[in-house]
Symmetry: C2
């Protein structure tokens, strides 16, 4: 299968697939003409990658997940640990974004938003209490 079709099937872009090959994450075979030829198993792997990425895993973490997936003597504990760690990280990002949202909402509320130059947003950013 050509790169564009494989990418479509996995919900990715051809550029991403070339990138994954360049970092050794998924290296397809090549046809006579030099074109990458993605096997069905490759597409399945690409879907795995896409799902893991959608869960917030970085590429190197996806590599670990794939390594576990391919290792028949893995322990499910190890996969769960990766997920738990990612979950904790996502929680931290959520908390950080909630703080930002709160601050931004307060800023927006404090400003009339009219044609006058009086702006409590800028005053507060400048340190005015």
């Amino acid at each position: 299968m050509n790169i564009s079709q494989a990418a479509r099937q996995a919900g990715l872009t051809p550029k991403a697939l070339r990138y994954y090959e360049s970092i050794g994450l998924l290296v397809p075979v090549r046809g006579e003409n030099g074109y990458r030829d993605y096997a069905a198993a490759d597409v399945a792997t690409l879907q795995f990658i896409q799902r893991a990425r959608a869960c917030g895993f970085a590429i190197e973490e996806v590599r670990e997940l794939l390594s576990l997936y391919r290792n028949p003597s893995r322990r499910s504990h190890d996969a769960k640990a990766l997920v738990a760690e990612k979950l904790a990280q996502v929680e931290r990002q959520l908390q950080s974004l909630r703080v930002m949202r709160e601050t931004l909402a307060e800023l927006a509320d404090s400003c009339p938003g009219d044609d006058s130059p009086n702006c409590r947003i800028l005053d507060q950013l400048a340190g005015g209490k």
Copy 2:
């Protein structure tokens, strides 16, 4: 004031201050010895930058905010628009992270996390329903 002290007062790093200078965001004067010399007003500007960054504004957005702050004929509407747009963006990121958290939580729950290789996390990432 030297770069390290200015950075400390603003809750930033010397490296960040050098970067801000390199992109023309805040250019301090130089002393005889070539050292950057941050005036009190510069430190206030750095604090403005730090607060805006903490709210999630990108550097180019901070530049706009600073430009409004320095423009006496600004309209508070413009500042409020920037804040509202950033707020909407933060909401989108929150929503995206909530989806990730949900998915990760389901994955974690479905996996025993023991020494066996049976792992529903990896199965689900592989497309197993």
